[in-house]
């Protein structure tokens, strides 16, 4: 076990990103797909903070980017859940297979 550094954090964030991608591919339920998207966004935040800490510590740009990512993720989650609840009201199901007419 080595002293953790940039590569360790990048490994974690890459693994988390592809866990989220796997969930997004396999899940067919809108709420669980939203959860996978949250995992993906979090791995991106981890990347920004790690680059900020280990490569450019004289600036705070990475930190600001992750603050904005968090704000946009919050807005996205709220809108997605509003859409999911509206879809459940009209279809009694939040499976993506049953929401096919949304694409027209």
């Amino acid at each position: 076990m080595m002293q953790p550094g940039l590569n360790h954090i990048l490994f974690i964030s890459t693994a988390l990103f592809f866990i989220g991608v796997y969930g997004f591919f396999t899940r067919r339920n809108l709420v669980t797909m939203l959860m996978s998207v949250e995992l993906i966004l979090n791995s991106v935040n981890l990347n920004f903070i790690a680059f900020n800490k280990y490569l450019w510590p004289h600036k705070l740009d990475g930190l600001f980017f992750s603050i904005f990512v968090i704000a946009i993720a919050a807005a996205e989650a709220a809108v997605a859940i509003a859409i999911i609840i509206n879809l459940y009201r009209s279809h009694r199901s939040i499976d993506v297979e049953n929401a096919e007419e949304m694409k027209f």
């Binding site: 990048l10 890459t14 809108v79």
Partner: protein, 172 residues
């Protein structure tokens, strides 16, 4: 092997294990709880990197906000105790294959690349420094994106209310 290293590996294991369980478990409520633990692990990693402000934001927004929102939407749309339907084995296999290939490719590229950082003096990510730069209107200031994000949040909030509003049957 110091205490900091041990804490790092514990946080990493917590984040990755609960993240993996969150996308594979068939009980949707458990998936939400595992997602909660994964987000807490990421907040712990931010604390470990000594970015306390962003860790606090992560806990407030994700752990306190988005997860609760997800749990409420699960309550509103699922019967308690229902399992998610089993997925086709072929779809699971090919998704795992695609995710693993992407992972291997990215890791290979990452570990071959030599990152060159700067050796300038460190600017501490304290709340005072963050606030100064966030609201500064000069070069390197983030006042305009800050205002834009406020407008976006307002628009998203209004949009949520409009979408989730129960439409009256007489109007349709």
């Amino acid at each position: 092997m110091t205490g900091s290293t041990i804490i790092f590996y514990i946080l990493a294991a917590l984040t990755l294990l609960s993240g993996a369980l969150a996308v594979t478990t068939r009980q949707i409520f458990r998936a939400a709880i595992f997602l909660l633990f994964s987000l807490i692990g990421i907040a712990g990693l931010f604390f470990w990197m000594q970015y306390e402000f962003i860790a606090a934001v992560q806990i407030v927004v994700y752990v306190g906000g988005i997860t609760v929102l997800i749990i409420f939407s699960i309550f509103l749309t699922h019967q308690a105790g229902d399992l998610l339907p089993k997925q086709k084995a072929g779809r699971q296999l090919f998704s795992a294959l695609a995710a693993f290939c992407g992972f291997a490719l990215t890791i290979l590229q990452l570990f071959q690349h030599k990152f060159k950082g700067t050796a300038d003096v460190r600017l501490l990510p304290t709340a005072a420094n963050i606030g100064d730069q966030m609201l500064s209107v000069e070069d390197n200031g983030f006042a305009l994106p800050f205002e834009l994000i406020s407008i976006l949040l307002l628009a998203a909030m209004v949009g949520c209310i409009v979408i989730a509003l129960r439409s009256k049957p007489s109007i349709i």
